[in-house]
Amino acid sequence: MHRLRYLLGLLTLLGAVLGALWLQRTLRNLDERPGVPLQVEFREARGLRPGALVRHRGVDVGAVRSVALSPDGDKAVVQVLLDPAATSNACVGSAFWIVTPRFGGLADGLSGLDTLVRDAYVAFATPSPRGTPLPPGSLIAGRERPPADAEAESLEPVRHGDLLMTLLVPENHGLRPGSPVVHRGVATGDVRSVALATDGSHVEVALRIAREYRATVTDKAVFWIARPQLSGALLSGFTVQDAASLLSPFVGYHAEPGVGVLVPDGHRAAAAASRPDFDLAPVPASVVKGAPTAAKAATAADGIVVVRVVYAATERDTFTPDDDIRRAGNGLLYVDRTGRAVVITARSLVDGSYTESDGYGAPEIADEQIKVVLPGGGVLRAGRVWVDSDDSDLAALVLDGAPPDLVGTAPDRLAFAVDLVAPQAPGVVRLVGPDGAPLAPIPVGGTTPQPEALGGVFVGDGKARSVVVADDRAAVTDGAASLVNFVLLQRVPAELRPQGL
């Protein structure tokens, strides 16, 4: 009479058993989340606990499963489980270390302060170039302290136009990557790296000065490493200078305005042993009145503005590694009839598809970037708007976001008409340095390739008449060209010329 009910009871019990099995599996799976298990050995676990995080670039990418002594008892073995998404970042050569509050003395400063109020965690860095991902179960020797390049990775990225220079100091007084570079109390840049010179005679400190402060560094600037310093005498009282360096040492520099010339990338300067004695001049009265400063005074006196043109691109190759193209040269800057800031330069300088060749057809040029360094040091992006279709190695750029008060070559200093003055006639080629500052004019002539002469402006009879182009566009390297090949401005189309020319 109850036959069906017995079956239903059997099914219910079966369902209950299956449910219990499923639950047990689910709960066990919670414990066995997917991921890559790794073992990292440390000399000291530094308070690391199971459940602590594993972080990469500050992002949680895993957890510590257990902390135990190694069988021989002289290491702490930390089992970590990396999330599947992060496994490609942990590769052969990755450095693992434990982040805890750490006072490294004056030389290293404080780090890991966030772990004062939270648990210690494991961090790791991805080497560059990236190695093969660590296989599950790998045993890695952890580091006792963060690798230096891990700190370098946390630095501000270098932007195009930033000044990169080297400071030579007798001794590193606690500078670290990231230590600030200070001018008149304003941080204008940072320390990128600190390294002992190869011969051990001094320490080389690589500095980055942000491009907007580039003009504050001249060849007459004095650098020093700021340390707290007590000066004064009993009667006059004492002064503590650079008190801020108590917390972290920094690089200071000072340059008198209007003294010296701007320095190019790669500039080397020696630091003074201590803060030099200088008196800051009072703020100039003209500034107080709000009069414009001579920021544009950097234009050459003859009214012809030559600018630095930097080109970067990648040529993609199918079977061989991609080639980076990096070129720097010159260009002639003026404002055209519609108010655009136009730079006339050599096409072989700013067009990778013109100079590169590929055995399999047209070269594939990617990631093109054209930057123009103005005489004042400012850097603007530029776009290529015209190339001479007649294969005469001439190109026109238009600056992106040019300031309204930009000073270009005066129209009466431009010779677009058919030119009777041959390039071989007396005249000079005007070139600029990496910072956009004019270099000494070079007389025309000579077939030896000149580095970074491409786009140089030939000035004859007080007027800009032509630009230096490549001898052989397929052999252009580093913007080199000999100063005998010119293309006349005459080829520039009328809509790219100033009004009335």
């Binding site: 109850h2 069906l4 009910r5 017995y6 239903l8 009871g9 059997l10 639950l23 109020v117």
Partner: protein, 500 residues
């Protein structure tokens, strides 16, 4: 076939008890002619009620069914396996204890029976008048014994049955009252020329002159026989059985059967809870839900408030940082209180408050045959009783949990102000900082799921076999423990799966 209402052909019936089988009837060959009004007599414990329950389709589903041999044909339907559903309309039963629904008025009892028989509820007045209850009180619980019997007759007639079964309709009545009921039954019998009536009774004098025959259960011979209306009980018929039947079933088998039937009952309760979710009686479901939301809310909110306030006060007072990071402490306390502790506590309180009541009510209904009466009327008891419970608990539990969380938050705000002078704005900001919409979904999900399961457990234990009041009490005890275990398990699993 039409001349026999009930035919026994080689019929046998045996009780299955733990370790043994007790044979009640053996090889019965008998036919009860249609349109007879029969009394059914025999010694107590001889199986009269068992036969009657079998005929009424009231075999207890949670216990091993009686062993049935041979064939039993009722109104042309054979009882080969289970009670034929087609018979439900044609068979009505008046059980001992009447099985009246005390929560409804007498009129509503009859109306429900009419509605279940697909007849107009307007007929209720006529039926009540027929049994002399046109001026009955509005509360069924206040009816006298005789009135309850009469109401039961009216309700049984609502479906206009072809076979009317009565179990001791005159028990507990004085001779005059007994005769009145007997006359009423005979009168109801005569209304319908198709109707056959079988009355189990020990009180043949009350039915004197009204019977067409007497069905006698001969305990000694374990058989049935039909006597004339003038039958007088004799000693042989009331003698006890000469011995137990043969041992047929092992104790283990009986235990296994009971276990399987219990499991089947639980599985069926779960299925019913889902299949019967659309309310049969929307008003009843809404009323039950409203009660489950409102009645326990103050009590549960008080508990939540005490928990939230104490947890916050001591967290701040025992601050390991001695006056710092208060907001972080509040954030942690808020998360653990609102997402884990208060919902769990609210679940426990809800079980104690609502599940106990519901199970006790169901147990009493089962014990007093109300559930069996609903079955004989053709109703699915789950429709009328389980569905409102499922709605009430699955909605009431989250609502009450929400009330507890709100109370806990206010209490915690007061505690934080007392312990460390936290302002209201700062408190709210810190208290809710770590809570997300997902937490709310998890909390509501935990409460709703445990509410549903608790309702099923309460139903399952409430409508299980009830032989005594002690069974009802035991069911309530078990229901509270089971409900709390369910709440604990659901919360533990969900919390662990979500946050671990």
């Amino acid at each position: 076939m039409t001349d026999a209402a009930i035919t026994f052909a080689g019929f046998g019936l045996a009780h299955r008890r733990a370790g043994r089988e007790e044979t009640l009837l053996h090889g019965v060959d008998l036919a009860l002619p249609t349109h007879g009004f029969y009394a059914f007599v025999g010694a107590s414990g001889g199986g009269k009620s068992s036969v009657l329950r079998l005929l009424a389709g009231l075999v207890e589903p949670r216990e091993p069914a009686p062993r049935v041999a041979g064939d039993l044909v009722v109104l042309g339907h054979s009882f080969a396996a289970d009670f034929p559903p087609a018979l439900r309309r044609d068979v009505a039963a008046i059980l001992q204890d009447e099985g009246l629904l005390d929560e409804r008025s007498p009129r509503a009892n009859v109306e429900l029976a009419l509605r279940l028989a697909d007849r107009s509820p307007l007929l209720a007045a006529g039926l009540l008048a027929q049994v002399g209850l046109e001026h009955a009180p509005d509360e069924t619980a206040r009816l006298s014994g005789g009135m309850r019997k009469r109401l039961a007759v009216a309700r049984a007639l609502a479906s206009s049955p072809r076979l009317l079964l009565c179990d001791e309709p005159t028990a507990g009545l004085d001779p005059a009252g007994a005769r009145t009921i007997a006359a009423l039954l005979r009168q109801a019998h005569d209304q319908d020329l198709q109707r056959t009536t079988l009355v189990v009774t020990h009180d043949l004098p009350a039915f004197a002159g009204k019977l067409d025959g007497v069905l006698v259960l001969d305990r000694a011979r374990r058989t049935l026989r039909l006597e004339g209306p003038a039958y007088e009980p004799n000693a042989a018929d009331t003698a006890t059985a000469p011995g137990e039947g043969p041992v047929r079933a092992s104790e283990a088998l009986h235990g296994l059967r009971t276990l399987l039937l219990q499991a089947a009952g639980f599985g069926e309760s779960l299925l019913e809870a889902v299949r019967r979710l659309p309310p049969f009686d929307l008003g009843e479901a809404a009323r039950a839900t409203w009660r489950a939301c409102v009645e326990p809310a103050p009590f549960v909110a008080l508990g939540g408030g005490v928990l939230g306030g104490l947890a916050t006060f001591f967290a701040l007072q025992n601050n390991p940082l001695h006056g710092g990071m208060e907001s972080a402490l509040l954030t942690g306390t808020g998360k653990v209180a609102l997402a884990v502790l208060v919902p769990l506590l609210a679940g426990f309180f809800f079980c104690a408050r609502v599940v106990a009541g519901a199970t006790a009510r169901l147990g009493a209904m089962k014990r007093s045959n109300q559930i069996a009466a609903l079955q004989t009327m053709g109703a699915r008891p789950a429709d009328l009783l389980l569905t409102p419970m499922v709605w009430a608990m699955a909605i009431g539990m989250p609502v009450v949990t929400f009330a507890a969380c709100v109370a806990a938050s206010f209490a915690a705000m007061a505690a934080a102000a007392a312990a460390s002078g936290t302002t209201a704005g700062g408190f709210v900001h810190a208290w809710l900082a770590a809570l997300t919409g997902r937490d709310a979904v998890v909390v509501v999900g935990k409460a709703a799921l445990s509410g549903l399961l608790v309702a099923v457990a309460s139903w399952h234990l409430g409508v299980g076999p009830k032989r005594s009041s002690a069974d009802v009490g035991a069911a309530v005890d078990r229901a509270i423990v089971a409900a709390m275990a369910i709440v604990l398990a659901v919360h533990a699993i969900a919390t662990f799966a979500e946050y671990a």
